[in-house]
Amino acid sequence: MNKRLIALTDRRKLIVPCSGIGKTVGEVTREATRILIEELRPGVFDTVCLARIMMDEEEDTRELIRTSNVITIDGCPERCATTSVKFAGGTPVLEVLTVKVLAKNRTHRPKSILDIGEGGRQLARDVAEVVIENGGA
């Protein structure tokens, strides 16, 4: 393996969900992040606050974004998580769009933002699996 590839492999793996509060798919991104961090790959992934990426005045969060393998999980096509990571100087290694995952299986539909329901939890698991299948870990 060449040095650059080893460096990329050794980098910290960060999941950045959009966590949008206005749409149910925003809540699904949070659940997908939890599934990845707690259930599917404990100890492999970490996360960082989206607002901190944008408002970090000491630049340590932005440095973290620039030096990690960042996977963004966006709820809607506004792609706020991806936009924020790029604003901070990072380049996501994988960008997952929840509504696209939903389009592949419309039975996994979230119920509401207060309770995404069984459909929403299934969708979150679908999103988490997309991350794993695409080399997220």
Binding site: V16, S19, I21, V48, A51, R52, E78, C80, T83
Partner: protein, 136 residues
């Protein structure tokens, strides 16, 4: 009949710690259960990404920010990109610096006592702001 604007709620929803989750649940509780007709929520990621609708609302109408920790990302970003929030809530004032503890990071729900307390306080602030706007 005079127009009384709704109050915008802006939660940090930070992923890294319990406080961010509490801020989100408290905002959603006010929005959907306690003051559904008097509040709207502003999506902080969309606001930060530069959405003119979200920023425009916060520039003209009163907002309440709910932050999970002392970094006050929601309050600072609202002030930076729109106007100073009418009220700034810091979850740490209610539960201390819980950002260090990860055990409850994903487990807080809208039935928790701390979420209830913060949501009730935010609802009171909403009433006060709306009353003040009505009197003007």
């Amino acid at each position: 009949m005079s127009f009384i604007p709704k109050v915008g709620l802006i939660a940090c929803s930070g992923e890294e710690c319990t406080g961010g989750n509490v801020s989100r649940m408290a905002a959603l509780k006010v929005l959907h259960k306690l003051k559904p007709h008097d509040t709207i929520t502003i999506c902080l990621p969309l606001f930060l990404a530069g959405d003119s609708g979200e920023r425009g609302f916060a520039e003209v109408f009163p907002t309440i920010t709910i932050d999970g920790c002392g970094k006050l990302c929601a309050a600072r970003s609202t002030a930076k990109y729109s106007s100073e929030p009418a009220v700034k809530i810091n979850v740490e004032d209610y539960m201390g610096p819980r950002c260090r503890g990860k055990e409850e990071q994903w487990r807080v729900n809208d039935g928790s006592a701390i979420v209830d307390k913060i949501a009730e306080d935010v609802a009171k602030h909403v009433e006060e702001l709306r009353d003040a706007l009505r009197d003007n």
